[in-house]
Every structure is written in C-alpha cells, then in structure tokens.
Amino acid sequence: MSIEKMELVNIAGLTKDLDTVIVKLSDCGCFHMESASKIAGKKSGFTTLREDNPYKPLLKQLNEISVQSGRKFRSDDFSDVENESLSKLGQYIMDVRKKLDDIKTSEKLAGEKLSVHEQAKYQVDHLKGMTVDFQQIFSCEYIKVRLGRLPADSFEKLEYYDDKPFYFAHFSVEKDYYWGMYFVPASYSEEVDEIFDSLYFERTHIPDFVKGNSSEASDELNKMVEEDKKLIADCKKQYEEYLDKEEEKLGKIFSRLKYQHDNFDLRNRAAIVNDKFYIVGFIPKSEADRFMSLFDGLESVSVVLQPADSNGKLDPPIKLKNNKFSQPFSMFVEMYGLPSYNGINPTAFVAVTYTLLFGIMFGDLGQGLVLAVAGALLWKFKKFALGPILTRIGISGAIFGLIYGSVFGYEELLDPVYEALGITFLPFKVMKNVTTILIGAIVLGVLIMFISILINIVTGIKNKKLEEALFGNNGIAGLVFFGSILVGAVAELFGVHIMNTAYVIVLIILPLIAMFMREPLSYWVKGKKYHMEGGIGDFIASNFFEVFEFLLGYATNTLSFIRIGGFVLSHASMMLVVMALSEQVSAAASPIVVILGNAFVMGIEGLLVGIQTLRLEFYEIFSRFYSGDGKPFEPVKINYDENIE
C-alpha cells in the first residue's frame, strides 16, 4: 500500500540499434519513456528526430475502411504479413477499398433510383381513381394537362379566375394542399400556367417510365420500388460478405502497421548526436533485473540505472502499489490526482473509509448482498470498473444491515435469530437510536479527521514541509487546538471541569498563535531569516482571515459528518415508506410494491450515498493531506484502440 519505487533508466547506443531497442522497450511493458530532449540541452549537441511516420497513410486508409464498415480492427498475430513490403500492403488495401467503394456506389445508385420511384409513386398515389392512361393524357394535342399540388389557400382563390379557360380537378386533399390536375386549352396554356405559378402550384412531372392509368402505374411503381430495395439489400449483403472474407487479413495488416507506427513514433522521443542515440525513462525497481536482461547481446547499447530522483529535471512517474482489497479504489484516487513520488498512497485509507462509511449509511443485509452480486456480475461480464467497488461496499452494507437487523426493509426479520443466539445488544434499531447515530457520525468524522491530520503531519515532516506539518491547521498546532477543544467540550458535557486557564492558554491559545505565526515560525525552525512582505498590517490582516477560515473549517468539517447519520436515517425512513405502502395495497400487489420499492431505494440511495461518501473523501479527508500532483506511470505500448486520422 505504497508507491512503487522507480529507477531512472539511461540508455545509450548506436543509431543502427535504435529500432531494436525501441521494440524491446515497447514489448517489455514496464518502461515509462520520457522525451530525451527534456534533459539533453541545446548545448550538448543532441537533437531529436523529426520524421514523418511512413505507416500513417496506410493506417489512415485502414481507419477509413473501419469507420465506413463499422468494423473495429483489433490486435492480432501478424506473423503472416510481417515480411510483406509496404507497397504490396498498400496495393492490397487500395484493392479492398476499390471493391468496397464499387459496391457502395452500386448501392447509392440503387438508392437514388429508389428515391425517384418512391417520389413518383407518392405522386401517382395522389391521383388514384384516375382511370385514364397517363400517356394518353400527356399526348393530347389541344389540351394541356398539368399535374401537381395547389396550396389550400390558393384553391380558394381560383374563383377569382372564373373567366379564365381552365379547369382544376383535385383527387385528394392533404393537410395544406389539394392534389390534382388542371386542363387548359393549348393556346391559353402560357397565361394559365402563369396564374397557377402565382398561386404557388407545385407541378409534378410524371416520369416517362410511368405507364397506364394511376392504378396500373402505381402497381408498376410498387414493383420497381421492391426491385430497388432488393438491389440495395443485395449490395449490403455483398459488402458484408466481402468484408467477412477480408477482415482477418485486414486485421493482421492493421496490427502490423499499428505496431510499427507506434514504435516509429517513439523514435521522436530519443535524442540523437552523430551516430548515437540516447533514451531516458523509468522502470519499477522490481522489474530492474528483467529489464536489464533484455539488452543482453546488444554490444553497442549501454543501460545505466540510477535512483529515481537523481535527475532534477525529471519527476518520477507514480505507480500505486495496492493490495487486492484496496486495488479497485485506486480509481477514486486517480480521479483526484496521483500523489507525488515521495508522498503517500492514500488508496488503502480511502478503501477502508469509503467501505465503512458507505456500509454505515446503506446498512441493509438484503440490499447490500444484491449490490455485491450486481457489482461482481458487472465486473465479470462488462469489466465495469465500479463493479469490484460495488461488491466491497455491498458486503459492508450487508454487514451493517446485519447489525441494524434490516433485510430488504424488514426491520424485525432478524430479531428471532438474535434472540435464539442470545445476543441482546443486537439488532441496533436505527429509528430508535437517532441521537446515538447522529453523535456516532460526528465521533466517526472527528476520528477520520484526526487520522487525516496525522497523515499530513507525517508526510509533511518526511517532505520537510515544516510550516504545514508543525504550525498549519492540519499540522501539530491544528491537531492540538482541535483536539483540546473537543476533549474539553466533551469533558464539560460529562461534568468534568478541565478547561482551566492553563489548559486554555497552553492547548488552545498557543496553538492558535502558532497557526497565526506559522510562516515566520517555520523560517525560524529552519534557521532562516523571515522577511515580512507587505508590512505588518498586511501580515496581520491576511493571517487573521486565514486563521478565522481555519476555525470555521473545523466546525463545518465536523458537522459535515452528520450526513452519515442523516443518510442512515433517510435509508431506514425510505424503507419504512415502502413497507407502509406495501401494507396498504392488496396482498397480491404487496410483493410487487416491496420489490419495486427496494429497487428504487437501492438505486437512489446507493447513488446518493456513493456520491456523498466520495465528497467526504475528497473534501473532508483529501484536502487535509493530499495534493494529487503526481504524474501517472505509463509504460510505452502499442495502442490498438487509437484511431489514425
């Protein structure tokens, strides 16, 4: 439960071996590579490689195939295509793309035909009932016929043109349009066309291929539409079949190209001088022997290991070392930020407090077990990162449910069991012990705050941050002040008078002064001279408000933990409501109400309690000792999920 110790690795060799070394580094899975330019200054003569990645264009084409087809290429054994030349691979990819494009073009053409036929059908369907052949209508010599739709408002205005020689016949009426045709003597067609244009008549041009009357034409168009749809379906099938056939080879080529592409990119992180290269990075100390053995036989390459913090320009990356129980909770720590290399790994503390606090708030044997099983299933089948956390906190909830005697909201179910076992102090009925629960929540909160302050003191001393460790609100001064007030208050509550003048001066006022003077005091402890910036007035004003904020913080942070008790009560109250509702419905509906009620409470309460606990962790606990400014340990590897665009 600490931070993995690292070694700084310096690799130097001849550039002819650079690619070999890079392959070994990416294959080993334990090398965190830094950019060598960070430490090789301009004066040293080192340069970095600025090369175009030759594998990128082909990968881009593969990515386009992947996006177009919706098939994701994964890492695969590429030994079959390992020795193929890039030009041959490029030709193959091009052939595949051409074939796929050809099929897509056929599908698109079929789609366009479908659209034309559907449009014609839509128009012809509005002329249903017209028994005359279209060809006959349009071939009239002295009468012109125009098909289309007229806005409903314009239809009303036709009476204005009573004296004009045309006749408009409508076949159907849609929301805002009259579908139909107008007949006009050929000699008047120009004038009448203008009138209809001004009335926003939308003319329909029936395609030449439409034959027969409206009913026959509709049937014919139906057939065409079906044929088009079949053609489109055939194209889709052909596309998928072709992809099925080529997918394996494409996947292998993708794997090979991605492997070479990512390795090639790593070359840019090496520093080059003349015919030599220089690579710098970190490995976990535990991997040192295995790592060194990778370079056996490479005569020109020298690998030197140094202590992780031996180069001031490079901060060692952070790899958290956790046990099996706390491992899933590292997600929360990473979410906040990783610790610094010399800091402490708070994952175990988070794991314990999170599990405990959640369990207390969510206490129900049945619901806890359901949550635990759900978490296990989510992890097993979906690899859902929260799954293992749900399992742990679910079990914790079940244990506290056992203590509270609550099973799916039934508060008396376990009573006979405890009676049979002769345990008299259990179950601890939540609704009958409201005050105890609220006081218990504050006590627990204070305990957690004390532990957090202690951790801060230890890490502060370890990292020589004396101002924080000794005189800060989360240092010794703060601990003494906060502890003394609490102890004094509790003692007074129980009638023990310990808050005498000496107690107040030594344990309350002195720590308060220490907090006020923390900056000059820390200089004094270090044996350095303190220079007051901004004058005495500024010093007093700023420190007065800071100390005032500290005092407020102690009060609000302590009270903040009351929410633990609040949620214990709200969980129990919500289940009481569910039970009351189940009693009011019929016997048949009662189990349904209980099941739905439990599901609802588990969902809403689980989410709320989960979020509130995380808030307590981040705000009340982490803020006391944790900065989260470390950088993660990211060993170089081939990223097969990345898209090259």
Binding site: S154, K157, Y200, E202
Partner: protein, 349 residues
C-alpha cells in the same frame, strides 16, 4: 356574461399561454443563423427544423417553396396564433378582439386602392383568404373591383363606406391613398378605443401604449413626407393620425415645419422619443428603423408588465408581426444576395 363581469375577469390562462408561446420566439442567434443561409430553401429548412414555425412548415417541401408563399404562410401563422390565443378562453367574442380582423380588412381595402391607382393587376396570391368568413365583405370580390366608385358601392353595407365616402377624388377619378389611409386608420383607432372594456388601470396603460405607437407612426410618416415629398407643415398635419401622446401639438408643429430631413432629425432628437432613441443607442439618423425599434421596445415592455389578456394579446401579436417582418427582411436579403452584415441592421430585436 355581462360587460361588468367581463371587465373584472383576468383571463390569466390566456396571459400564461401567451407567455409560453412568446418564450419560443426567435432569438438573435436564430436570426444570425437565418442570415447565414445561402438560399431561401436553406432558410426555410432552418425555420422548419429549429423554430416554432416547424409545425406550420411541416407539409411544405423546402426545396421548392416559393418565397412569396413562405411569406404568406408566416403572415397566416400570425393570424392563426391570434385565433388560437383569443379562442383559448373564448375571448374572441368580445368586441375588442375583433381589432385584428378590422386591421386586416383596412389593409385589404388600402391594397385594393393602391392597385387601382397604379392600374396594375391585383396580386390575388397575397390576399389573406384564411380570414374569409370573418370579414364584413368578400375578399375575392374586393380584388375584382376596378375603380373607387365601385369600391364605395361594394362597401356600402360596411362601416368603411362612411369613412371613405367623404374622400374627394382627384381629377383623374382616383382617390388619394394617404387620405384614405389616414381616414381608415383613424377609424380603426377610434373603434379600438371604444371597444376597450377593461379595468381602468389596464385601459390607461393601453391608451398610453397606443398613443406612443401613434406618435411614432406619425414621426415615421412625417419624416417620409419631409424627406421625400418636401411637404409643408400644414400638408403633413392633415395626413397625421390623431394623437394625444407625449408630443404636444406645438412640438409636432415644430418638427413638421423642418425645412429638410436633417433639420427634422435635429428637432426630433430633442423630443422625448428622440432622447430615448439616443439613450437606447439607436441611430437617430436612421429614423424609421429606430422608431420601429422603439415601438418594439414599448410592446415588449407592455407584454412583460401586463397581467391583463387584452394588453397581452395586443402586444404579443404586435411583436409576432415584427418577428415575421424580420424573417421576411432576411428572406428578401438572401433572395437578392445581400450580405448578412447588411441585413442585420434591418432586424428589430
């Protein structure tokens, strides 16, 4: 329900409904999106997909829609919205709410006179046929009229006959459109005032709004007469709508007697409206647009402050009409390839 009861009723549901519809109005962002469209089809498509006009435009094919038809549909939408909100609590039966029909009838009569005077073919496509059945005359028959005498005969049984019968015809037998317009609009205002069956506080607020609006319409018209027709103060006064607003007769006379458009603006700038334009950052030199912006501002203010149905209906429909005018300006701009930055100043928000 008797008049006294109607007077006391609040029609809060109507006010709430109006505010709900008003909440869906076009935003400045919508206007800039519209202005950035390259064609009328694209603008129509934007309105169809992203605005409260989507229902209205659901059946149209945006690829083929004609600009004129789109404009007519937008105008029709204003009327349908008016019918919807006045029908919500059946207030449309109250005389006041007939104002929209009267307004549209007057517009149609004036359009008819303009076409007759110009001797051009009537634009039957623009006739708002959707108000058929609610008007006091047949709109199609009106469109067929060819001279003023015929028009008077046609309007014989309507209140407009008395309004127009005193108009003297010119030597060519044509009627002066401006005089007709002044007479008809004056009739409209009088009728509107007489139909107000509101509580006193609402009536006072409405009259104040109406008089301000008339003042600003008079300012726009008098400016046009000065700038483009070089009209004298006497001539201008005759063509103005009667107003008891914030411009005293002396002040009005002072502005109307300006020798030039520049002098007109200089004098106007010193009036209460001129000062308000300057305070609001409007360009007084672009007087017409700034006056319309001020009209818009007052209507918006009345809508926001009022809890009374007639005031809300009147101001809301007014604002909706401005919105339609804005869209039409944009569509015309797009149609004639005007740059968005040149269309933008025409938009009133």
């Amino acid at each position: 329900m008797n008049a006294a009861v109607l007077k006391r009723r609040n029609y809060n549901a109507t006010v709430a409904k109006i505010m709900a519809i008003y909440g869906k109005r076009l935003t400045p962002q919508d206007y800039s999106e519209l202005m950035s469209r390259q064609s009328v089809a694209e603008a129509a498509e934007y309105l169809k997909k992203n605005t409260h006009y989507s229902d209205m435009l659901s059946s149209i094919d945006t690829n083929t829609i004609h600009r004129g038809m789109l404009e007519n549909m937008l105008r029709k939408n204003v009327f349908e919205t008016y019918m919807r909100i006045t029908g919500f609590e059946h207030i449309s039966k109250q005389e006041f709410y007939n104002y929209k029909i009267i307004q549209m009838e007057i517009d149609e009569i004036l359009r008819c006179i303009r076409f007759m005077n110009a001797g051009s073919e009537k634009m039957i496509s623009d006739v708002p046929i959707y108000i058929k059945g609610l008007t006091s005359f047949n709109l199609i028959e009106l469109a067929k009229i060819t001279n003023f005498k015929e028009l008077l005969t046609f309007l014989r049984k309507t209140p407009y006959y008395d309004v127009l019968k005193t108009i003297k015809l010119n030597s060519d037998g044509k009627a002066d459109v401006t005089k007709c317009e002044t007479a008809l609009r004056t009739y409209y205002i009088e009728r509107l005032k007489n139909s107000m069956n509101f509580r006193k506080s609402d009536a006072d607020q409405f009259i104040s709004f109406l008089e301000t609006d008339i003042d600003l319409i008079n300012v726009i018209n008098s400016y046009r007469l000065t700038a483009f027709f070089d009209a004298s103060a006497d001539e201008i006064e005759k063509d103005m709508l009667p107003s008891g607003g914030r411009l005293s007769p002396a002040k009005q006379r002072d502005i109307y007697s300006a020798e030039s458009s520049e002098e007109f603006i200089r004098r106007f700038s010193k009036t209460t409206y001129g000062r308000q334009m300057i305070e609001n950052g409007y360009d007084v030199n672009d007087l017409e647009q700034s006056a319309n912006k001020l009209r818009y501002k007052y209507a918006k203010l009345m809508l926001k402050r009022s809890q009374s149905a007639p005031l809300s209906v009147y101001s809301f429909i007014f604002l909706l009409e401005i919105e339609v005018k804005n869209i039409i300006s944009i569509i015309e701009g797009i149609r004639y390839g005007v740059e968005p930055n040149k269309i933008a100043p025409l938009i009133i928000t």
